[in-house]
């Protein structure tokens, strides 16, 4: 029983089915105590600067909407906003493509390799992704340029294709894999019954398929939409300097022109960015609240990560089987290309990597030597790893009690709902939104750029998502067990009982935080610096002279990607299970 697969991701506000817990009012203060550390940190680091930003957007300058009017008059701001909206429109397209990709051979088992390869880009930082695609489409030595000669991929117009492909590469695989896991979970018996009763295809889709996929679809949509609203590194890494203006987005504009816009206007633009992500996230939250199907047998979840083995009795013609193999194979090949090109480029001497594509000679370890030559990479690898580990540990210390309090603390339902909604908005908060006020405070405390406060900022940004993830898992623990322990702590603390039964969720949260901190560029750029030491900043420096730094740059990218990739692949089963399952409650 203890090893039952717990749902470990749940964004929907959980509604207690049992009688109201008001009688246990003593648990209220206990829940508040458990919530307090997490609330204090997020309140100080995220909420307070957020409030300052919102107030300043209206107050600074003259007239309540003065700053917003000024933004509307600024053509470059309008341009950035329109581009950000384009990304938001693109996100559902990626999700639909993921659904389509998950459909062929839907009742067959999906190979582990295919799943791993398709989902791997999630572990790759957006900075590395941007660099990989710039390398692929570079004008002289780009692989794609060599294949489709004569096209200036990174130029005006085409750059959108490159950025779109990079974004697709990063997210499409995950969407497809998660959809597939949930397609395998579909109530095929129900579908068979519907068919037997003569329901048409449309009716089948409306009555069975769509409701079954809606929860996971909504979650995927939130994840991809939020990624779209937070596009930043991709623009800076993949687009050459002169082109960046054309593909400017709100996040980049805010970072670059904040000082010139002035306090009020940059605050107003930050609020616009916040509105984008908040609306998206809250809409997703609303979508996830619709529950279906009501009661699902627990044992089906056991086979999730490997697809749906029960359905192999279905006879496929040899041709179709080969078609599926080819389809899977093609997807795998396409998906590994960017990372393979990075790897092959890094295995050339810097001179060879600068002068020609990876298919020409000049193999050697020179690029790795160059990457490590000035000592920066090595020292930042250490400091980033320490920061990621400390942040993950601290995050668990703060988020586990908070999530427990929100799940089993017996808090009034409206309070829980409000906190979950707030956590959802904070989970998707782009760091640029609060950079000015938070930076000013850190500056006044003489902490800007130092290593320790940077960890706290990372943890604060991680807490909301961690609480959402943990809540889903904690809720799956048997209510009887928790109540029994709560009433009779002599047999052991209820919190401890919950934790021991939810260790995969804790692991997932830790892995997420390690990967997020490790891959972060924005927070390091805004609040850190090289003193704090972050691997992505070291690599970001190289982008300035992209062509002649191609070799060391690729070596940086490979070194940076190794750790998160291994971590995610090693723990992928739990991550995937959580994403595909927990949302359906």
């Amino acid at each position: 029983m203890t090893n039952r697969a717990e749902p470990i991701f749940e964004i929907a506000p959980r509604e207690a089915i049992n009688p109201p817990m008001r009688r246990h009012s003593p648990t209220h203060w206990r829940a508040v105590v458990l919530l307090l550390p997490a609330l204090t940190l997020t309140g100080a680091v995220l909420v307070a600067p957020l409030v300052v930003t919102v107030v300043e957007s209206f107050a600074a300058g003259g007239g309540a909407l003065h700053n917003y009017e000024a933004l509307a008059r600024d053509s470059s701001v309008r341009h950035a906003i329109v581009n950000s909206l384009r990304w938001l429109v693109f996100a559902p397209v990626v999700c639909l493509a993921g659904l389509a990709l998950s459909w062929p051979g839907r009742r067959r088992r999906t190979g582990r390799v295919v799943i791993a390869v398709l989902a791997a880009p999630v572990a790759v930082s957006a900075l590395v992704t941007g660099a990989a695609f710039r390398l692929l489409f570079a004008p002289q030595s780009g692989t794609a340029t060599a294949v489709f000669g004569g096209v200036t991929f990174l130029g005006p117009g085409w750059i959108w294709v490159v950025l779109g492909l990079a974004f697709t590469w990063q997210w499409l695989g995950l969407v497809a894999v998660v959809f597939r896991a949930s397609v395998a979970e579909m109530p095929w018996d129900l579908l068979r019954v519907a068919r037997a009763f003569g329901a048409g295809r449309l009716r089948q889709a409306r009555a069975v398929v769509l409701p079954a996929l809606l929860p996971v679809g909504a979650l995927m949509l939130i994840i991809v939409l939020v990624a779209a609203a937070r596009v930043f590194e991709l623009v800076l890494a993949a687009a050459p300097g002169a082109i960046q203006d054309q593909v400017d987005v709100v996040g980049v504009h805010l970072w670059r022109f904040g000082p010139l816009l002035g306090t009020g206007e940059s605050a107003a633009l930050a609020v616009v960015l916040l509105l984008f992500v908040a609306i998206v996230a809250l809409a997703g939250l609303w979508g996830l609240r619709r529950e279906w199907p009501a009661g699902r047998p627990a044992e089906t979840s056991e086979n999730l990560s490997a697809g749906r083995p029960a359905e192999t009795s279905e006879n496929l013609s040899a041709g179709r089987r080969w078609g599926l193999w080819a389809f899977g194979g093609l997807a795998v090949v396409l998906w590994v290309v960017p990372l393979v090109v990075l790897l092959l480029t890094s295995l050339h001497s810097p001179r060879a990597a600068a002068a020609a594509g990876w298919w020409s000679g000049g193999w050697g370890w020179g690029s790795y030597q160059a990457a490590f030559a000035d000592g920066m990479l090595l020292s930042t690898l250490g400091s980033t790893a320490v920061r990621a580990l400390v942040a993950a540990a601290l995050l668990l210390v703060l988020a586990v009690p908070a999530a427990y309090a929100l799940t089993w603390g017996g808090l009034p339902r409206p309070v829980v709902r409000a906190l979950v909604a707030a956590a959802t908005v904070l989970a998707v908060l782009p760091p640029q939104v609060i950079a000015t006020p938070l930076g000013t405070v850190l500056d006044n405390l003489q902490l800007l750029g130092a290593a320790t406060p940077l960890i706290l900022v990372h943890v604060a940004f991680g807490v909301p998502l961690a609480i959402l993830l943990l809540r889903g898992a904690f809720a799956s623990v048997s209510r009887d067990l928790v109540s029994a322990r709560q009433l009779d702590p002599v047999r052991g603390s209820a919190l401890f009982a919950v934790i021991t039964r939810c260790w995969p969720a804790l692991l997932t949260v830790a892995v997420f935080e390690i990967v997020l901190v490790w891959n972060d560029l924005v927070i390091g750029l805004l609040f850190g610096g090289t003193e704090a030491g972050s691997v992505t900043l070291v690599m970001f420096e190289q982008v300035r002279q992209f062509a002649t730094s191609a070799g060391p740059l690729a070596a940086d990218a490979v070194v940076i990607t190794l750790l998160p990739l291994i971590l995610v692949l090693a723990t992928g089963r739990w991550l995937l299970r959580g994403l595909a399952e927990g949302v359906q409650r």
Partner: protein
Amino acid sequence: MAITRRTALKALALPCLAGLGTAGCASDSIVRVAVVWSGWELSQFVRVMNAFSERYGYGYSILSMGDDTTAFLANEVTADAQPDVALVPQPGLVRSSAPRLADVGWPRPDAAAWRSVLLSGAGPGGQYGVWFKAAYESMVWHRDDLPLPAAGWDWDTWTAWCRDEARAGRPPLAVGAADGWVLAGWFANVLLSIDPAVYRSLVSGYATGRKAGTGPGWDNGSVREALTRLADLWRVTGMFPGGPERALVTQFDESVLEVFQYRQAAMVVGSDFFWPIITQSTSFPPGRVRWFPFPSRPPEKAPIVVAGDAAVLFKRPSESPVGLALIDWLASAKAARIWAGAGGFLSINDQVTKEDYPYPAAMRPADLIANVQQGSPDGGPATFDVADELGGSLGGGDGEGTWKIFTDFFTEVAVHRSAVDGAIDAVISALDNGVSGA
């Protein structure tokens, strides 16, 4: 976000990195230096600092200011983040930051053109910095197989030859238009040949005491003439390998490769710091690299656009001997020779001679040295690059200020082939609307 930039600038120390020669942190024997370099250039500077460490017995730590030195010097920074010495590429910024800087005196009698740009105009006159690294940005680089006219090239014969080559399907020019400063450098060279006086009054505004929003506007005949010359050349079909669209995605280092590695273009306009790119990233024999000065139209003088990094010392409540020692070291010929030997570095110290540089005779190192020491075409104060002189919203950065203005101009005239007059009006209006200042 004021913070983003300041952050990047403020506290980017490499604390006590192994291999960087630091001898322990938080000690009076440590000097903190803020620089703008990264990558190979930073590794060269580290060599210079290692030699300092050995010679004087002081430790050091290096802070990287990133692109934005302005915020770094203009704002009061916390004591922890305050460097002892900063290497600043904008002379105007040094002058306007004078109240916070220590008068370091002038250790040598040479290069008057360079000295005068660091003198504080207002208040008690003093010498608020010494030059460590200089750059000469009025060069046209090419391979030795380029047929040169016996009399050398002026603007008209040069552009005529370029047009002929373009028409014949052999792109004559590589240009790293993806880097806005490359295009701004073209403009600086052409405007400086046409009218050094206007260049001084508009670009080197500090030299004449002009402040943002005052004095003459950008709309004058010389500026229009300079932009017209550029537009006429840039919009010629076949001028750049792969066309102007590809030029827009080509960075300066790649434009060097286009000439010396891929041989897709005959020449590239640029600076002395192209040398290490040629020697490190191409297989072209260094002995066959050539250059000539950026052409002008007689009787105009050949332009001399320069850049440089001045070492400044921040005022302290108690004078720090470490900082002064470092200033002395950075101004010395010994320090200069360490980096000069690797190339991509020019010194205005006249004890650094052509033997100290890696350049073969064909590179005419003596001319490089003479030009950079002269510092300006007319004997006046050194004429700095546009983006280094104009601060504020006209300063540089991808998609920002002058970089963006000239990128837009290039896009309009070369890629979109819009009417030249309209594109020129757009540049002038953008420059007039920009807020210049440190």
